[in-house]
């Protein structure tokens, strides 16, 4: 612990970095948050940002169009590397989504009040990340128009999916996750949608927000039902945080490929997912609070807490790397040993070193109070960690496949233009959805913030 950092949980630190800026009332909170959607003029910056991200979305559409026209051969995949960017990106995006659910569900159950101002956009991020992730399993198949074979529908031929395959578990895990996340997010939005309905100045907005608010009037009965539903959904979402990436890790752990076939994958993947998810929340929160002047709602306390979560999960991930390495050596399995050698000396070793640098070494800076409180460094670090987690998936998926059991079939992988177009396209799509989100929905939960105002007032 570095000098200058106050002791944890002291009243001093709470005072220094509160979860809500001083001097806010119910009205000011509501005004501030709803104004972004209802009254503030759309800035030029928003238009520029939207246009850029929209063009990347267009690129994604073109890439997918070309893919459907020609086939997955437009990508860099081959024999032996049957999975490339598509699966790397899938795992990465799914992982990113995890932080949103963790913040909104687990921290809610643990009664962590600081989650309030970040949970809304974190959940939105989850949904958008799952949307991006969901694209890949569908389009990466050779015959995407036949992908419905993976669903257990009542086929006239009486054929079912092959339930031993982890890809089928994926279908259920990801679709459940997507559905629960959507419902959870929407339920949380209802009181705010009613606020927007009430404050909307134009007829169309009143109608749309009114319909979405499902007749919310803010009665005690409504609040009672709302609280129970929210709690139940939080309980339902909590195991999903752990299960989804566990199942995704089975895609690899169940296979016999050296570098995939390891029991450490489920916890290591979940930790990695939360790690990258928090990095992504930071990557979004920092520009958001800056652009819309939300420093009072997303305070340094939030950033500090998220940095600590990143540090903790980063250490778990480092532990995973170490034990993956150790078990290969300890087991004496020649294929695993060779893979370790390949990671260190092979043609892709620079990816491995970059991964260690991004995911293990860089986050050690987060031990320092000053770094956790330097917004710019935090922002850059969140980008580094996201890159690192992407590299981790690349190392696992691609490098393991390049050199497996039969040396005569060893090969390499190089992404093509269309791999990059699809990848950057989903990033563009993701950010574009966020741009739309902050313009049409309250990025911070108004209702929960008002609760916080009340609680803060009581505490004071």
């Amino acid at each position: 612990m570095s000098a200058g950092e106050p002791p944890i949980n002291s009243s001093e630190i709470r005072r220094l970095t509160p979860v809500l800026g001083p001097g806010h009332t119910f009205g000011s909170v509501t005004d501030k948050i709803s104004s972004i959607v209802l009254t503030r003029p759309t800035s030029v910056g928003w238009y520029v940002g939207f246009l850029i991200t929209f063009s990347f979305t267009a690129l994604l559409t073109i890439a997918m169009g070309w893919l459907f026209t020609k086939g997955v051969g437009i990508w860099g995949i081959n024999i032996p590397v049957g999975w490339g960017f598509a699966i790397v990106n899938f795992v990465w995006w799914i992982g990113i989504g995890h932080a949103g659910t963790l913040i909104s569900a687990i921290l809610f159950l643990l009664n962590q009040k600081w989650r309030t101002s970040i949970n809304r956009f974190a959940e939105a991020m989850t949904l958008f990340a799952v949307a991006c992730a969901g694209i890949f399993p569908l389009i990466h198949t050779g015959r995407p128009w036949m992908s419905f074979y993976m669903f257990p529908y009542p086929s006239t031929m009486g054929i079912w999916p092959q339930f031993r395959s982890p890809l089928i578990w994926d279908v259920f895990a990801v679709s459940t996750y997507g559905t629960v996340s959507l419902i959870f997010w929407f339920v949380g939005l209802i009181p705010d949608l009613a606020t927007l309905r009430d404050r909307a100045l134009t007829k169309p907005k009143q109608i749309i927000y009114g319909m979405l608010a499902l007749g919310w009037r803010g009665s005690v009965r409504h609040w009672h039902r709302y609280q129970s539903a929210y709690l139940l959904l939080a309980g339902l979402a909590t195991p999903l945080v752990l299960s989804v990436h566990t199942v995704v890790s089975f895609d690899f752990a169940v296979a016999i490929v050296p570098g995939w076939h390891t029991t450490i994958f489920p916890p290591y993947f979940v930790a990695g997912a939360i790690y990258s998810g928090f990095a992504m929340v930071l990557s979004i929160a920092i520009p958001l609070r800056k652009a819309y002047g939300l420093e009072d709602f997303i305070t340094m306390r939030h950033l500090d807490n998220m940095a600590k979560v990143m540090l903790a999960t980063g250490l778990i991930v480092a532990y995973g790397y170490f034990f993956e390495f150790f078990m290969s050596i300890y087991s004496g399995n020649k294929f695993d040993l060779y893979l370790v050698e390949q990671r260190i000396h092979g043609p892709y070793s620079h990816f491995y070193y970059a991964l260690i640098l991004c995911n293990i070494l860089t986050p050690q800076l987060l031990w320092f109070y000053k770094i956790r409180h330097n917004v710019l460094i935090l922002f850059l670090m969140s980008l580094v960690i996201n890159t690192g987690m992407w590299l981790e998936r690349f190392v696992i998926v691609v490098i393991s496949l390049t050199r497996d059991f039969t040396p005569s079939a060893w090969g390499r992988y190089q992404p093509t233009f269309w791999d990059w177009a699809t990848f950057t396209g989903t990033i563009g799509f993701f950010v574009m959805l966020l741009f739309l989100f902050v313009r049409v929905l309250p990025a911070i939960s108004i209702a929960e913030m008002r609760e916080l105002v009340a609680e803060t007032a009581e505490a004071d």
Binding site: N78, G142, P161, V254, K334
Partner: protein, 1062 residues
């Protein structure tokens, strides 16, 4: 008149679906003289539908009257105006199907009205025929589906096949359906009719007859067909002053002239490798090229089968010594291989002769001398049971020495015998072509008929053959008045010729052929010509007084003359059925050696500082004739594993001197793309730029330039692939060209080569297991001693979950002792299973589609003095100078615990009750998870739409019993499940078990060395069950507990203990 003649087509050829019986009547002679007379007698405009009508053939008149409306003939008067003419034209088109539109293939929309005898629709028929190749022909059985030949197999009754085949025979079916073939007669590029050609030929013949053929020259390759030879003789008799020249670019004059040197006359050598205990090959790739190679391979490997017991009896192996400058298929399976430069082979042969007491001497290095001593000792141990063979590219002296050596070892009459030449007219090809060129320059040639060869591409560059044909800008004239070319493609030579006749494929025309031992086979067509093509016989006939004589009639007349006493029709049918003309093998000829090795002039000492550039036929495209064959282009060459290109093969030490190297780009990597240094080679006054390839095992200072690539006019597939080695091949240095190292210059560029297996090291894994015969005898279970299979009780299920496989349990056994990587299985599989050709770009991305691949590993590299081998040939290690090479065919392993099946999300790859790992293409959605999880990486994925669905020719070619896969679907070997099902259904109908040997997989059927055996492992008497019971039996990577049905028999080499310890 001529224009009208042109618009009306003369060929009344039926469509491609013609019943086979009609084949004999395709070439109905047409009385041209009558036609011409009629034409001359007419005045004004005349319209006729066929030449027969014009000729006033009474039977045709009758046909006309019967089939045409009554009023039609009355309209055929001379006062037709334009309007009526058009009306009539329309009417005739509608009524009779004018033969003018005969170019459009006829399509039958109804099934057979009368089912042809012996044909059951959906059941293929097999016909015996043969494919000529140099001075050899391989007997074939060709599968025909409703008149379409689809697959070629060897003919078990034919001496050069014995049921097996090679890559060229297998791939020749693709040549038949090659859409780039020349399709008609052309004159200066303009389409002509066959009758126009006959007219022109007859006009030329008339002129030539007056000069007794002065100025007529014919250039052919090796002619081994007695029919064509007789036709050529007839032409030469008709024109006594005409001359016949021959040029075969990839077969040396050495074997021919060596016989003459040794015996005073041309002879043909027939070997019996089966009878030899010790074989010494002096740069001879007798197991993979040259006459009789398929037969030799079978005989050779019969002596390398080992049985269950490890004791001496029944477990003897022959021993093969190979001395060669560059690794060949034969050299790769040698027990002892000595890399020597080309120029060192003759001293080696002389030294060997000297050591056998034949006189003469040869200077050898001490190490080589010691090696030779060991060989000589071994050879002397088995008098009359050894065999020494010399390579086709070796000079006459080496061949003469080998004849003397074999005689001294008592081998003549036991392991080899001599016959009269198989070639119809043996000559020295280089002299023959040289003479032709001189005569052309001297203005002595007025008419040149080039038959089947491509001299503009293949002739030595100093002959500059194109200049002989080309219009001379200075003299404003051409050196030869008329040049006629007959070939299957409109190639480099055709573009300089006046007339070009499209040649029929051997599956389209009648003919005959002689095998390496002289056996004659009737080449019977399986299909009417797809295009307006004609056989060599017909072209030659056009120059005789019988221009319409068909090959069929000519052939039958000739055979009838040779077999006067018998019932000819019965004999003819039997001969066609058997695929061999009984009793035509050439008898052993008695020869007397008139050669004394001591009389050879002393050799010029060669400088070891110099490089030696060798010219060799390419293992895949041969001399370039198969350049447009996609199967052969994409076939990884046996030793280099390169596809779609040739490369200048450089020995590792020389590469180190020249600082040549590779980079492996990430796209494709070791399994796909290698960026190789580009070098300029300046040889004999010419220059060529080529990609370099470092070849382990190549003699130091040797650079091999494979022929057959860099073609400029080969067709869509073959044009501009690789580099053209003919450009630097001169007549003085036809096979070897010594030159200082400075002739090679690195350009600094790199060139992408498509190599399917770059990494050669097994990394200590249990993949290809080898031992010496002595080690095997000491420990017959050496294979399983080295393996780490999981224990039987390593299961959660207590073995209760085992599926019993009660009826059939299909399994394959591959004897690594018998595999030399010849690739016949790969092409056979491609032909049988409709496997797509993907092209160089896709191979470089690691996406080739072969269901069976042949892996090549070098084994003694790991124990090299430099410590750990990298598996990367561009990093020099001393062990790479002469590594021991092994080949391993890898089809689907058909695991009982298949890792692929467990991970498929949709159940598209499932286990059958007979233990096959089936692919359900319709169900596959293409996640590629199965391929990732396959430890053997035998699965192939249609990353794009690799199949050509449009080209109509390929639609005809495909096997109707195998699904043509589309994009996005995984595929892999299924043990030819269509053949299994067919045999099982046939057996079920009889309520019998499937007999052993009733099912031959395509790879097994093609394999010349009988390395692949397939059958029912449940039947203890089946061959495969017996092989699986051998102690040498093992599976790849047994520790994974996948329990493959494809198992291997470990390779056992039989080195000479004396040389081993030396």
């Amino acid at each position: 008149m001529d224009e009208q003649l042109q618009s009306e087509h003369d060929d009344d050829r039926p469509g491609i679906d013609v019943h086979l019986k009609d084949l004999s009547s395709i070439d109905r002679p047409l009385d041209l003289a009558t036609v011409r007379a009629k034409l001359r007698s007419k005045t004004g405009k005349q319209y006729w539908r066929t030449l027969e009508e014009l000729a006033g053939d009474p039977s045709f008149e009758e046909l006309l009257q019967r089939e045409f409306p009554r009023q039609a003939p009355s309209e055929w008067d001379e006062s037709v105006d334009r309007r009526d003419f058009l009306k009539l034209m329309g009417a005739s088109l509608a009524l009779a199907g004018l033969s003018g539109c005969g170019r459009v293939p006829e399509q039958y929309l109804v099934p057979y009205v009368k089912q042809p005898d012996g044909m059951v629709l959906s059941e293929p028929l097999f016909f015996a025929t043969a494919m000529t190749f140099g001075a050899d022909a391989i007997g074939l059985l060709v599968e025909s589906h409703e008149g379409r030949p689809t697959k070629i197999e060897g003919n078990p009754d034919h001496p050069s096949s014995l049921g097996a085949s090679n890559i060229f025979a297998q791939a020749s079916i693709l040549n038949l359906y090659d859409p780039d073939r020349a399709q008609t007669v052309t004159k200066a590029g303009e389409i002509q009719t066959w009758s126009q050609f006959i007219d022109a030929a007859q006009a030329m013949a008339a002129a030539l007859r007056s000069t007794r053929g002065d100025g007529l020259r014919i250039l052919t390759g090796i002619i081994s067909s007695p029919l064509v030879a007789a036709q050529l003789e007839a032409v030469l008799t008709l024109y006594p002053l005409a001359k016949w020249h021959q040029w075969e670019p990839a077969v040396g004059d050495g074997p021919r002239e060596g016989g003459k040197l040794a015996f005073g006359r041309y002879v043909n050598t027939v070997c019996r490798p089966e009878k030899a205990e010790v074989i010494l090959s002096l740069d001879s790739d007798f197991l993979a090229s040259g006459p009789g190679n398929v037969r030799y391979m079978r005989e050779f490997y019969r002596r390398r089968k080992l049985n269950q017991s490890a004791d001496r009896a029944g477990n003897e192996m022959n021993r093969l010594y190979v001395v060669e400058p560059t690794p060949s298929v034969t050299g790769s399976s040698a027990d002892h291989r000595l890399p020597l430069r080309y120029s060192e082979i003759e001293p080696f042969a002389r030294a060997l002769a000297a050591k056998l007491g034949l006189g003469g001497s040869g200077k050898l290095s001490p190490a080589t001398e010691k090696w030779l001593d060991g060989v000589v000792k071994d050879l002397k141990k088995y008098p009359g049971r050894t065999l020494v063979v010399a390579g086709e590219q070796q000079p006459a002296e080496v061949h003469a020495l080998v004849h003397a050596i074999n005689a001294a070892l008592g081998n003549v009459g036991t392991t080899l015998y001599y016959t009269d030449p198989v070639e119809a007219h043996p000559v020295n090809h280089l002299e023959s072509l040289g003479e032709l060129c001189t005569d052309i320059d001297a203005g002595k040639v007025s008419t040149l008929l080039i038959v089947g060869v491509n001299p503009v591409y293949t002739a030595p560059h100093d002959f500059d053959f194109a200049s002989k044909l080309r219009f001379d800008e200075k003299l404003k004239t051409k050196k030869i008045e008329t040049v006629i070319h007959i070939s299957q493609h409109f190639d480099e030579t055709s573009q300089y010729c006046d007339w070009h006749v499209a040649e029929s494929h051997y599956l389209e025309a009648w003919g005959d052929a002689r095998a390496f031992d002289g056996t004659v086979t009737v080449v019977q067509p399986l299909i009417a010509p797809l295009y307006r093509t004609h056989s060599v016989h017909e072209v030659l006939a056009a120059f005789t007084d019988k221009p319409g004589l068909s090959a069929y009639d000519g052939l039958r007349a000739r055979l009838k003359a040779e077999n006067p006493a018998t019932d000819f029709e019965a004999w003819w049918r039997k001969t066609l059925n058997d695929g061999v003309v009984a009793g035509t093998a050439l008898p052993p000829a008695s020869v007397s050696l008139q050669f004394n090795p001591a009389s050879l002039p002393p050799l010029k000492p060669s400088s070891s500082d110099e490089l030696e550039f060798l010219f060799r036929p390419d293992p895949s495209v041969y001399d370039g004739r198969f350049a447009n064959n996609g199967w052969l282009q994409e076939l990884p060459k046996p030793v280099t594993k390169l596809t779609w290109d040739n490369a200048a093969l450089v020995s590792p030490k020389t590469a180190e001197k020249l600082n040549l190297s590779y980079t492996i780009p990430s796209r494709g990597g070791e399994h796909g793309q290698v960026l190789s240094d580009v070098i300029d080679i300046a040889l004999s006054g010419s220059k060529v730029t080529a990609a370099a390839w470092i070849l382990p095992g190549q003699a130091e200072g040797v650079v091999v330039l494979p022929l057959g690539y860099g073609r400029k006019n080969a067709g869509y597939t073959g044009t501009n692939k690789g580099f053209d080695a003919y450009v630097v091949r001169s007549s003085k240095t036809l096979w070897a060209s010594p030159a200082p190292i400075s002739v090679i210059r690195k350009t600094g560029d790199s060139y992408p080569l498509a190599c399917t297996q770059y990494h050669f090291n097994m990394e200590g894994r249990h993949i290809l297991v080898t031992a010496n015969l002595d080690e095997y005898r000491k420990n017959p279970n050496f294979v399983n001693d080295r393996a780490e299979p999981p224990r039987e009780d390593d299961t959660l299920y207590n073995g209760r979950a085992e599926f019993p496989y009660e009826r059939n349990k299909w399994a394959m056994s591959i004897d690594l002792n018998s595999c030399n990587g010849c690739n016949a299985c790969v092409v056979a599989c491609q032909a049988e299973n409709n496997i797509a050709v993907v092209g160089k770009d896709q191979v470089m991305r690691g996406r080739e589609m072969h269901w069976i691949r042949v892996d090549r590993y070098y084994t003694n590299t790991e124990s090299s003095t430099s410590g750990k081998s990298t598996g990367d040939p561009s990093q020099y290690q001393p062990a790479l100078e002469n590594p021991e090479a092994f080949f391993q065919p890898v089809p689907c392993q058909q695991c009982e615990n298949a890792p692929c099946e467990q991970v498929c999300p949709v159940g598209a790859t499932v286990h059958s009750a007979e233990g096959l790992n089936d692919m359900v293409y319709q169900r596959c959605i293409g996640t590629r998870y199965c391929s990732n999880n396959c430890p053997y990486k035998v699965r192939r994925f249609n990353f794009l739409r690799f199949q050509d669905w449009e080209t109509p020719q390929f639609k005809l070619m495909r096997n109707p019993e195998v699904t043509v896969r589309s994009r996005g679907v995984m595929e892999k070997c299924n043990y030819c499940v269509q053949r299994i099902d067919k045999a099982r259904i046939a057996a079920d109908k009889k309520n019998q078990p499937v007999a052993d040997g009733a099912i031959l997989t395509a790879c097994q059927q093609a394999c010349p060395s009988e390395a692949i055996i397939f059958g029912n492992a449940n039947d203890p008497n089946s061959r495969v069950a017996k092989l699986r019971a051998q102690l040498r039996n093992y599976s790849i990577l047994p520790e994974l507990n996948t329990r493959p049905r494809t198992t291997y028999l470990a390779a056992v080499r039989n080195p000479n203990p004396e040389l081993e310890n030396a």
